[in-house]
Amino acid sequence: MTAPRARQEGRLRRLAGDLLSLFQGLGLTFGYFISPARVITQQYPENKASLRMTPRFRGRLVMPKDEAGNHRCTACGLCEKACPNGSISVLSEKDSAGRKVLGRYLYRLSQCALCNLCVEACPFGAIAMGQAFELAVYDREQLTLVLNQKEETTTNV
C-alpha cells in the first residue's frame, strides 16, 4: 500500500512544482511590467540628436578634410588594391609640375562591405569609416560618391 501512496505523493509534489514553475514565470514577466525603468528600447528618430556612434563605428567611407578642403590622399591606390569588392577607384592626374595627384576618388557604396580593409591599407590616414548609419537613398546613382571634393557629390560614373 505504501508504494502507490508514495507515487501519488510524488505526483502531487510534481504537480505543485509544475504550478510553481508557471507562477515563477508569471512573476518574472510581472516584475518587468511594473518597472518601466528596465525598458531598454530607444525611441529612434526622436533621439537622433543625442545618438552618438562609437568612435570606431564603421559607417560609410569618408575622406576627412580641413577647412580649406585639403585632404591627405596621395593617389597611391593602396586602398583600391585592398578593397575586396572593387568599390574604390582612385583616378589620378598629373599636376602642373608633373607629379601624380588625386583627380577623383570614386567610392561605390553599393558595393562596399564596410570591411575596413581600405582604412587599414592607407599609410596616410587619408580615409576613415564615417559615423553615418542612415545610408539608404532613393536612387542608386546617389550611391556612387566622389569623396575628395569639398562637398561630396554623387556622380554618374
Partner: protein, 364 residues
C-alpha cells in the same frame, strides 16, 4: 416579436428607455431596439481598438519595451490607424478558394461576439436583453465563432489554414464542455441562469462574490474558468490554431484587409466577452467591491456600476494578456490531454462537490 409588450422586450429598464417610452409610446420598442443596436455597435467598434492598443502596450511592458509611441498619446490612436489601414487594403482571395464561404467566414465570429454582448449586464440598467436562460444562449452563440474559423480554414484552399482550423475546431469543442460545466456550477450556486440574476445573487460585500464563496471551491472554479476560457479564446499559451511559428497564420493565413480585421476584431471582443462573463460569474459583475466598512462602502457605491464592471473585466483581460506573454505554447495533443484527462475530470469532481455543498447549504 412585436406581439410582446415593451416591458418584456426590454425587461431591464433604464432612464433612456423610459424617456423614449414616455415620449413615443407607440414606436418605443423600435426606437429602443435601434438605440440598443447602435450602442452595442459603438461598443463593439470601440472595444477592439482599445484592447489591441492595450495588448500591444501590456505585451511591450512585459518585454521591457514601450510599444507604440507615435500615433497619439503613447500610441493611443495606433490601433485606430491600423484599423483604418486594414479597411483600405485590398482584400485578396487565393486562387481556388470558395468565394462565398471565404467571405462569409469572418462575419460569423464578429457577429457571435456582437450577439453575446447583448446579454452582458454592464450595469443595473445597462443590458440589452436578459433572457431567463442567458447562459444557454451564451453557450449556443459562442459556437458560431468556431464555425467561422472552420469555414475560414476550409475555404482558404491552404493547408496551413486547414490545419489551423482543424486544430481550432477540436480545441474549442473540447474546451466548451469544461466551460459549460463551469457555467453550470455558477447556475447551481446562484439558482438562476439569467446573467443579471447571477450578478444580483452576489450582492453584499466582496466575500459574497462567487469566487470567494464555497470555501476554496470558488477560487478553484475561477482559476479553471480562466484556463478554459483562454483555450476557448485561442489565445496563448493555447493559440495552437494560429501558432505563428508552426502554421504561419493558422486559419487567418490567407485573409487580408477588412476580412482579416474582422477576425482580429472578433478575437479581441471575444476576449472582452470572456472577461465580462468571468466578471459576471465570479467577480460580482457590476456590483461595487464593498468590504463592510461604512465609509469605504459609501465611496465605492458612489462609483457607477458599469465602471466596476469594466474595471473587473479589464483586470481579467490583463490576466489573459499576462498568460499569453509569459508561457510557451502547448502542443495540440497536450492541449487535448489537459482538457480530457485533467480539466474535465477535475471539473466533474468540482461540480459534484459544489452540488454537495449546495445541498448541505455550505455556500457560506
Amino acid at each position: 416579436m412585436n406581439a410582446l409588450p415593451a416591458s418584456q422586450t426590454f425587461p431591464v429598464t433604464n432612464a433612456i428607455g423610459d424617456a423614449v417610452r414616455q415620449l413615443f409610446p407607440a414606436s418605443a420598442p423600435a426606437i429602443n431596439t435601434l438605440l440598443a443596436i447602435a450602442s452595442l455597435l459603438a461598443l463593439v467598434a470601440f472595444l477592439p481598438v482599445l484592447l489591441i492598443w492595450l495588448e500591444r502596450k501590456v505585451a511591450a511592458h512585459f518585454q521591457a519595451r514601450l510599444g507604440p509611441m507615435r500615433v497619439g498619446w503613447h500610441g493611443l490612436l495606433q490601433s485606430a490607424a491600423d484599423g483604418l489601414k486594414l479597411v483600405f487594403k485590398e482584400v485578396l482571395k487565393p486562387e481556388g478558394a470558395d468565394s462565398f464561404v471565404f467571405f462569409l467566414a469572418p462575419i460569423l465570429p464578429a457577429s457571435a461576439t456582437f450577439l453575446i454582448m447583448a446579454v452582458l449586464p454592464f450595469d443595473h440598467h445597462l443590458q440589452v436583453a436578459d433572457p431567463p436562460a442567458g447562459i444557454i444562449y451564451v453557450i449556443g452563440i459562442s459556437g458560431l465563432s468556431v464555425l467561422g474559423i472552420l469555414l475560414a480554414g476550409w475555404a482558404s484552399n491552404n493547408k496551413y489554414s486547414l490545419l489551423g482550423a482543424m486544430r481550432s475546431g477540436a480545441q474549442m469543442i473540447s474546451y466548451e464542455i469544461s466551460l459549460a460545466l463551469l457555467m453550470l456550477l455558477v447556475v447551481m450556486v446562484s439558482g438562476s441562469a439569467s446573467l443579471r440574476e447571477i450578478v444580483l445573487s452576489q450582492q453584499g460585500t466582496i466575500l459574497d462574490w462567487w469566487i470567494f464563496k464555497l470555501p476554496g471551491l470558488g477560487l478553484i472554479a475561477f482559476a479553471m474558468y480562466l484556463v478554459t476560457s483562454t483555450a476557448e479564446l485561442n489565445r496563448g499559451p493555447f493559440d495552437i490554431a494560429e501558432a505563428e511559428s508552426e502554421l504561419t497564420g493558422g486559419f487567418a493565413t490567407e485573409y487580408s484587409g477588412i476580412s482579416f480585421a474582422m477576425f482580429f476584431f472578433a478575437e479581441f471582443v471575444n476576449m472582452f466577452v470572456a472577461a465580462g462573463l468571468a466578471t459576471t460569474f465570479f467577480l460580482g459583475g457590476f456590483l461595487a467591491p464593498r468590504i463592510g466598512l461604512a465609509f469605504f462602502d459609501a465611496v465605492v457605491d458612489f462609483v457607477p456600476g458599469f465602471v466596476w464592471f469594466f474595471a473587473k473585466a479589464f483586470l481579467v483581460v490583463f490576466i489573459y494578456m499576462w498568460f499569453r506573454w509569459s508561457f510557451p505554447r502547448l502542443r495540440v495533443d497536450q492541449l487535448m490531454y489537459l482538457e480530457w484527462k485533467l480539466l474535465l475530470p477535475a471539473n466533474l469532481v468540482l461540480l459534484t462537490l459544489t452540488a454537495f455543498f449546495v445541498i448541505r447549504g455550505w455556500i457560506l
